[in-house]
Structure formats: C-alpha cells, structure tokens
Subunit: 378 residues, 4 copies
C-alpha cells in the first residue's frame, strides 16, 4: 500500500501558547524572542508550517489570545497561510475560580464562567473556528470540600447551555484529566466522565484525548479505539509525559505508545490532531517542529503496518506473529520516506536544520525587545 | 440523627471462594479445615453470619461451586439461615480461554463461553439468585496480538445474548479491572467501558465496582458518585490493596478511602455490598468476620457525618470547615456503638473473640480430613 | 503505658513559606492578610505555636526570607517565643538554573549554586539554626539532555564542599523527590540516592523524607524504618498527597499512612518533624494548626500501640491478631486525650476554634494592606 | 565507530524456567512439547543459542532444576555447547515459607532457608556457576504483621552467612522487587535496600536489576547509571511490563526504555545480561529467541549513539540537539546490520524463521509425551 497520499493530507495543529513562556510552579524560565501578542504567536506558528508543510492551523487560548478585533486576527492568519483552529476556553485563572468555574458552589461564579464559554463561541464565529475545547480545572483538594454529585449537576447544566449555543458546523471537545490543579477530586477526571456527558448532549459534543492526562498504567490506545467505535473521539491534545502532565514534546517519552495510538486512528477521518504542550527548557519553534515531525513519523510507521498479515495472524491466534507484524512497521526507519515527501512538496528535507539556517530565531531575538513576553498568565 | 436503623438493615455478602485456599502465582499455602465442597463453604459462611448478624447471603462461583442439584444446595443454605447471592461466572480457567472467552478471535470459543454464561442464568433460576456477576479475564498481552475494536464487538454481542436471557427481577453486574491476567489490553479495563456497555443494554445491566481494580491515583468515590448519579451502580466487590489487585481484607490498606466510598453510598438503596477477597495468609473465617466488621465500621462513620453542617460549609466555600465535618465522623470510635447493636441483636459484642471461643475452627480442622480442599482451581 | 510524657515533648516545625501565597502552575490565588516579609511570617507562625503549644520553631527559605540582619530576625523570633529551625536553600529560581544548579553542565553555574549553599551555612551561624535542608530541582526533561553519571559526580563534589563547611552541631538533610520540576531524570530521585551520598560523607549528612515525594505504591514507613536502622534518618517534611507532590495538609489524604509512619518513628530521638506544605485554597494559619494537630493525633495513636501484645502476636505468626493490635490503636479516638493535654498546658482544648475566636485573622486582613504579599517567588 | 566487535562479544543468558509452563494465579495454560526435566530444558535453550549465536548459558532454578548429579547436568550442557549460568535460589514455595524465609519470625524456618541458600552455593561449585541470584519473596501482607526493622536484621544475618560461604570467583546478586507476592511490605523492595546490604558485605555482593520490578514512574536507567558509578551493578533480569511484574518479552512493552538502559550499560564489562521472563501465551523457544533479538537490537542502537556529538550538545546545554543525537540512533533500523553479523557467524539472518523451519517444535511436540511438564511448581 502506498502510504504517501494519507501522509500528504495529514494536518497537525499547533497551539498559540507553545510559543510563549511556560514553566512549572517552581519557575518560568524566560527565552529570547518570545512573542508579545497573538499576532507574533501566529508569525511563529507560520514558521512551523513553513518548514513542515503540515501545520497550517493554530489553536487560540482565551483570554491569553484576546484581541479587540478577531476579524483582523483572522486576516493576519490568512496572510500567513494559517487558519484559526480550536478556541480553548480558560476558566481557571481568575480569583473567582478558586473553588471551581462551572462546578463552583457559588451560582454567580458559575454564571461568569458560562458567560466566558459562550463568549468563546462568539470568538469561534468571528475567527471561523469550528471547534471549542473545554478543559475544566474544576475539582476539590480535600475530602468533604464539596459534593461530588452536586458538582456534576452544575457541570452538566453548563455544558447544556454551551451545547445549545453551538452553530451548524461547530462542536465542542470535552477534555478530561486525572488530576492537577485539583488534587483530591477532578470533575472530569477520565474519559468515561467526558464520554457520558457528551453522549447525553449529542453529536456536537465529543471527547478529546490529551495524551498526558491519564493514570499510570492506562492504555491510551484502548481508549482511542473505544471512543472511535462509539463515534465520540473528537481529537487529540498531543504531548508526552513520564510521570504526570509533564507537557513534553509528543513522542519524546514513549515513541512506541505514540505509534500504537496512531495505529488506531491514522486512517480515521475528522479527528483533530492538535499539539498541547509547552517548551519549558527547549526553544519554542524548533520544539514545535520536532513535535510535528514526531507525530508524522509515528503516523508513517502506523500506516506501514501490513493489515492483512496482521489480521491473518490475529485470527490464527498467533501471538508472536501478530506482534511481529506490528513491530516490523515500528522498527522501520521512515525518515527517508518523509524527507522525500518534503522534497516533493518543495520543502527542505530536514526541517530542523532548515529552520536553524533560516535566521528567524536571530531575527525575533533581536527585534522582539521590550513589551511583556507572552506566557500562561497573559 | 439516629444511625442505628440503617446499620440494622445493612447486609454484606460473603463469597464462597473466600473459604477455600488461595494464593499468588508463586504459591498457594494450604490451611487446615478448609472446605472440600460448596456445602462446607456454606457452613463456614454461616459462621460469619452467626457472629456478625449481617452476612446472610453467599455468592457462588461456577464452576468452582458446581453441584448436581442446585435446589438441594439452596435448601442447605436455607437450613443454615443463608440465601444464595450473586452467581459469578468463570470463563478463564479452561485451556480454550487462553486468548479470551467472549472476545476470543475463535467463534467456537466464544460460543462455549456464552453457553457457560447462559448456564449461570439457569443456576440463578435454580438457586433463587437475582444477580449474575460478569468478570472477563479477556485481553491481550502484546501490542498487535488482537484487534481492540473487534474484541469490543464480540464482547457486545455476548453481553446482548446474556441480557436477553435474564428473567424478571434478574440483573447482571459487569465488572471492570485495569489489568491482570491480561497485561497489555484488558477488554473491560475501566468503569467507562463497563458503563458504556451497560447503558446500551438497559436497566438490568449495571456496573460493579471492585475496589482493588483501579489504576494508581484513581478516585474511587468519584466513580461511585458518578455511577449513582447515572443510576448504573449495581454493587461493590470489596477488598483492599496497596499496589494491584492484592485481595486484602477490605479496609486493611486504606480505611479512610473505604469511609469516603461508604459516605457516597451508605444511604443508597439497592446496592449489593459483596466481599471479593481471599485470605492467603490469615485464616479464612475470621478474615471474613473482620472484613464484614470493617465495612460496618466504615458505614457507621459515614452515617455519622453531619450532612447539614457539611452542606453549609460546602456552600459557604469553607474548605477547612467542610473537611473538618467529614473528619469528625471519621475520627469517631464507632466500635462501642456497634457492640451495643450486636448486644441488642443477641450477639456477642466482640465477633472475633466469640468465633475464636466457639471451637468451630478446632472442629473443622479435626473433621475435614481427606478429600481435596477447595481452591480457585476446583 | 502513659503516653503523655512523650506527647508533651513533641515539637513540630512550621515553614515560613506556608504563610505566604502559593498555588499551582495554573494559578496562585491570593489571600487576605498574607505576610509581606519574614517578620510577619514569624508573627503568623507564633500564632500556630500559641494555640497548639508544640510548634516553637520556624524553617526559613533563602532567598525568600532574605533579610539584611539575621541577628535581628533571630531576636524577633525570640521575642515571639520562637526559634529559627532549618535553613532551606533555593537553587532553582534563577534563570541560570534552567539546566540545573550543582549538577549543571556549566561550571560557572555550579559555582554560583555552591556559593548560595555556603551562604546558607552562614545564615545558620547567624540565626542559630543547626540544620540545612538541601533540595535540588536538578534533573533533565529529555533523554540524552545530559549525562546521568556526570551529574552525580558534580552533585557529589558540591555536597562535599558543603559538608566540609558545616560547623560542630550542624548537619544537612538531603531531600529526595521522584520528579518535578524535572520530568525525565531527577538527580536525587529516591531515598537510595540520598542515602548513598550521605553515607559517603559522614554523620553530619542525613536523609530527610518528604512524605509527598514518592512513586505510587511506595511504602514510606519501610523507608523510615530502614533509614532509622542505618542511623541516616534526619527528619521529615510532612505533607500529604493523592497523586504527586500535592502539598496538602499532612494526614489529609491518608491518615492511616501517617499513623504507620509515626509508629516507626514516634519514640526515636533527634528526628526533625517539619511541615513542608502550602495552603493553596484554605487559609494559611488554620491550615498549619490543623496540620500540627494531625501529626499530633497520629503520634498519640502510634504511642498507644500495645507493643508487648504486638510483639507476641508477631512472634507467634498470628497475622490477624498482630494487625488487630495496630488497628486498635488507630481506631482509638485520641482527641479527648489531646484536649486534656492542652488544658493541662494552659491552652484552649480546641485550637481551631480558639484561633478563629482570637480575631487575629481579622486583624492581619485589616492591617496588612499594601506592599507585596510573600509567595514562592519573593 | 564500528559497533560490530562489541556486538560480536555480547552474551545473553536464558533462564531454564522460560522453557516450562507458566501463567498467572488465574490459570497456567499448558503448551505442547514443554520439557519434563532440566535436561530437556537445556536442550531447548540450546536451540535459542543455535539460532541467535549469543545465548550460550542457562540459568538454573533450585529446586525446579534439582537433579541427582549436577556434574552430569553440566556435562550435558557442555555437550549442547552451553554452560551453566546463575543459580537461582527459591525459598518461597514451601509451606514453611508462608510468613517469609530468611526474614521469617521463626528461627527454624530461617535456618531452613539459609541451608537452602548454602546448598545453592554447593550447586554452583558442582556446576561451575559463578553467580548466585537471590530473590526473596519475603514481606508482609498487613500493617503490624511483623516488625520491619527486625526483618532487616534477620535478612542481614542470612546474607552474611551466604556471603561468607562464597568461594573465589563467586558472587551473589541481590534482587529487589516492589511488591508481589507480599502486598504490604517487601523486605527488599527497591535498589536502595539491595545496595545498602551489598555495600556492607563487600565486592562479592552486587545488585541485580529486574526491569519489571519498579514502581510506576521509576527511571530505571538512572538506577543503572547510579549503580554502575558505585560499582554495584551485577546484572540484569530482563523482561518487560506494562503494569506490574508482567514478565513479558523484554522490549515488548517499551523498546525505547530498553534502549535507554542499554545506552548506560552497553560498554560496561562484567555485567550479566539475563532474561527472566515467562511465556504464558506465546510459544517458549521463539519467545526466547525474540527476546534475545530485542536485547541485541537495543544494544546495537545504543552503541550507535554518537558520543562525541552527544557530549558536545550536552556541554553546550543544547537540549534539542542532545536529544536528537540519542533519537537518531534509536530511530535507526539496525536489523540489516544484525542480519549481516549473523551471516558472518554462519547463522541464518532471520532466527525466528530459521527456528520455525527447523522442525524442532514439531519434534518435541511429538516426542515429549507423558511425564509431568515442567513449570513453576516442579
């Protein structure tokens, strides 16, 4: 089978916040050349697309990417050859959200949070985005702090309101996360919770799998396969982790896991492949380029799996042969193939080297002086 | 609030296999006096009820408890003051099940497994049991070994057939488990998977929460609260664990967790409280007595929570006060109260001491000589 | 046995940073009345001691608690009835430390970090502190980022220099932590690493156990017992966690674990009992009071264990009896006993209520206006 | 750098028990052709060496491999081109060991266990083995069951006696394991415990790293690097796992982790590379062949790392470049190179296919009829 056509059409979305500063609760290490506003973030994202050829959309995060004129931002993106991807809501960085947003015991705070979510749909309308990404930091830190069931009722009510506001061709993706920042309960801690809420709401509500948000030992590709079977997988927030939500470059911690995930999903239509990770130590733009390449390499390997041979071995109950079919694809070095594809598309076969030679980093380091660097708080 | 009425009506089911030998893959340590057949297991279970007063039913495991005449076994139970509880199906101990039972790639094996499940419903009819417990050891050990989605299709098909066979007043409980004996994928690995299957089938299908079957860091009481809100919690398989599915006495590893679980469920009707644990090192009957007492103590503490005070503190967002209300109940020593309740019911206030003094252990050790001791394999 | 004498002499140290603002990487929620400088932090710590009677020392964190005149700060502490406890070094919040401090590949950064550590010993001299606490955020985020062994060499070299600088009656405690902020390797990830370094250096180097810094499934009381047997346990950083380094109030997540730890250590001399936790959602001073009480309650229960009965059951191999001896102590409600002890010492039997009634919080909320609230960054 | 010389001299030891039946506590699935005695196990091991060329030694497990005449067994091995590798002691499968072996509270049991360990040294003398492997299933299931420190004292005493018995050129390797079969405490749960005991004893005592015996999130290559720096790494028990001690084929669960481990150790002399895994579902001999190949492939990739380029990037603090050097080696397809090496050594380039074609499996399936198949219990 020729895997090139599928690889040619793959698209991976980068997140605006990957270009800003980030870090841990202990320290954010600032980097030179970091964007000061959403326009500069888009300019950086355009570099990732320029060298990889498969990253033409950018996710926004509100309010980090709040601007006065979203139509203008959209035009700016167009001019860079980009489109606006998912709108990510943020209901966790206001003092009001200390005990939660849409699940807060205080109805005033819930209303405020809901208004923000609805505003995000307005921004979708203005930017042409078709996807709203909902992650809630809601939860509790101590047993007894709040009522688990009551919080679900409040959450369900907010989701209904948001769902009702969605227009044709719009959807929301509900994200789950085991823990952090809430440490005892999290209101959407696992795929089952996200799934149950989305199922009740209808086809415009789907689950998004963030690869860093699971308990140790969780089999992520199982979740992916299960949600696909149920028609409820909306997309991925890619990143990687060794321990918790470490936000490392996708494929950096366990490239075999990424391959197994891509094997389940590589040929499925309509799944959003998004990066959701930060570059705390490494430079931002090459960090994104490498991440896009990692997803692409895993996809190529996944597509190389000989499905007929695999099926035969599986049906015969030949454990070693079936495993070997999968491993043959994984052990293949797909970098030459991908270099060819890039050449064919008029790109440099080595995106990392090409970016390094481009002088872009030197340019932004020299010119982006003064102003406040973008980060999680701004 | 007087918590005694609720405590008086609490019932906890013990499993027939708790009275037989068990162990790890490394070694089964035999114990004196272990039953040789289901009749002797019931006799032992009757001792647990005799001293605790709240354990009047016994779960069976087929084929470990296979007998020629289930009506006779039922009469034997009646004579001991017991009833037959859940019927536990076993589709994992035949060479045919090496690659799975209802999710096996081989249709012949699937048919055989399904026939066993249907036979278990026959046994429910014969014994008066209203609950079928389904745990599947199905899964794979290696990436590629089988197709994750295809296995779900096969599983769903079998569940439909079993569901269709259930009579009025009968239900099945679908159990999930993170891993073991399958090590790479498990076909029902988490509550979300069990929930999704049960939801599709209807009200006679519910989820059972085995407290030892979760990934590290999983908040079990959240799952309990969520399933209750969805009307899909059927019951518990109680045990405790430090690491994996350790099958220790419930409440032994984390009594505070047990209390938090009981807080969510203590006043809910229709939930089956079952023990599912083995006593590898400790003697069987007192191991069960202690376990029943542990659940009872956790229940008493849970019922002691001042719900009005808790609700006020939660609504006020007073984190420390809300936590303190819960902890006040947990820190209360409920043993005197439970001793009173036992005296009131004509029981010895100290079940462990009373059993030790009863001479039952000496009796079974002396008389149960010869024959094959019951265990997981028989 | 009368456990009161041991309880009367117990001392628990609170950390200056518990009184300042803290949070997660997502958000720090500010609280009213938070101290603006180390003097105000000490004033708050004095309240914890005032109501509990067992918290007369305060750990400092440099540079968060940097002052011009440490002798003056010491006099201020004296005046409040407090002494200065452990000095906590901080070599993770400067841009230079992005790739590590004493294990950094750059010798200039290593020198800078070492100078800070030596300065902390100067501060010990000036404040009368006898304990230096060393926690290194050092590690790497990506495979290959640095050489694991070379980093150990650099770490060992720095530890030797610090050790050589310690005066008579001074020691350092080396802290280990599984992960965070480093996500791939951590240079002191576990007790074994800390132990090996301390063993090589000599008796002034000991291991400190932070209860929140372990992998899932780790048996902390085993580590405590093992280090005690080796004479290498220096103290505890108490807090609790459900998942990672959650910094919740000690005893809040797993009070039974805290009891088991205290059972191993309650009667050992020379062990520093320190809190190391932050109060992200709950108010700071009562958060510390509750934490001190939780350690005290766990200690009282641990002291109640009938050691003779336990030893007899253990030697007889009576698993259930031995466990029951331990659980009898744990299940005892020790709050009345501790209330008595407080009355005897002239304290209010209910420290939480007494603090609430004292009006201190209202006072600091009203008067600490303006200035920069203390936090991790300042 | 030419990596072939190092690959030519690599040796991987297979375990006798890999050729017998194995399973989980739920079920052991028997396979056709399984050996009935140690002689037949050696014959099977010879097949692994025949097709891989790098597996010329076999570990024994006593008493599973007990024979009347070890000199005869050794001659049998010689005749097959094999040598006897590590002797593995077993002090966990006798009813006496229910509460432990060398750490048992009963001195009679401790003596019995020690006698077995000393007998294993006799067997080393008789078979020419230079390595004793010590894994203790010792531990407790319940808090309070036994005294943690007292058990360490007993363990230390036994280890001293064994150490004293070792002859010149003999050593023992102490294995650690997080949990199982003990569920609450394990007496040698982590590398730190094994290290501390070995350090005290001297150079003939070293730590063995079983890759499946760690808590979730543990960085195994860190442990490897640390033990190498301390001169205390004796060898590996290779296998792989997703969750617990799953005993899957090495490299099957996380090939990138295996590569990272091999990177630390590939050029170190004197390290024993042993497989310790069972084949519950897959056929035994090809399972071992595949495992040997997986270690070999990881070694080849590890040797391909450009150490100069890596060191330069590390010293420059170039996170992405350093990671890329490592990943370049990992992403290389080394299978052609290894096929060449096999041809050069007169072997079939495809060991799996060659074994399948050899007819050996058909032969043993037909001829090994009757008798008791070897397994963990025999």
């Amino acid at each position: 089978m020729d895997i090139r056509p599928r690889l040619r059409e793959q698209r991976i979305e980068t997140p605006s916040w990957a270009y800003g500063n980030s870090g841990t609760r202990f320290k954010v290490f600032a980097q030179p050349g970091v964007p000061r506003d959403p326009y500069e973030k888009l300019a950086d994202a355009a570099q990732v697309h320029r060298f990889t050829g498969i990253a033409p959309s950018v996710a926004l995060h509100i309010p980090w990417d709040k601007v006065d004129d979203y139509a203008d931002l959209r035009r700016h993106a167009d001019g860079l050859g980009l489109s606006i991807g998912a709108i990510n809501a943020n209901v966790f960085q206001d003092d009001d959200y200390k005990l939660g947003s849409v699940a807060n015991p205080d109805p005033r705070v819930r209303r405020k949070a809901l208004d923000h979510l609805l505003e995000c749909v307005d921004i979708m309308d203005a930017t042409g985005s078709d996807t709203l990404k909902l992650w809630f930091a809601d939860g509790t830190n101590y047993p007894g702090q709040d009522d688990i069931r009551a919080r679900q009722d409040r959450l369900a009510e907010a989701l209904e309101s948001v769902y009702a506001r969605l227009g044709d061709g719009q959807r929301f993706l509900l994200e789950y996360k085991l823990f952090e920042p809430a440490f005892y309960t999290t209101d959407v801690p696992d795929w089952g919770t996200a799934y149950a809420h989305c199922l009740r709401l209808g086809p415009k509500a789907q689950v998004v799998v963030d690869t860093g948000h699971h308990a140790p030992g969780t089999n992520i590709e199982f979740i992916v396969a299960f949600l696909l079977r149920e028609g409820k997988l909306g997309g991925f927030d890619f990143n990687s982790r060794f321990y918790a939500d470490d936000d490392l470059m996708v494929g950096a911690a366990d490239p075999f896991q990424l391959f197994r995930i891509m094997y389940e999903v590589a040929e499925e239509p309509g799944i959003a492949f998004m990066l959701d990770q930060c570059h705390n130590l490494e430079p931002k733009i090459p960090g994104q380029i490498r991440s896009v390449m990692n997803v692409q390499e895993a996809t190529a390997k996944a597509l190389l799996v000989d499905k007929n041979a695999l099926k035969s071995a599986q049906e015969a109950g030949d454990v070693l042969a079936a495993n070997a079919v999968l491993m043959d694809a994984y052990n293949t070095d797909v970098r030459p193939l991908l270099a060819d594809l890039r050449r064919e598309a008029g790109l440099d076969p080595d995106p990392m080297a090409a970016y390094a030679k481009s002088g872009y980093f030197q340019e932004i380091s020299a010119t982006r002086v003064g102003g406040a660097q973008a980060g999680w708080g701004a």
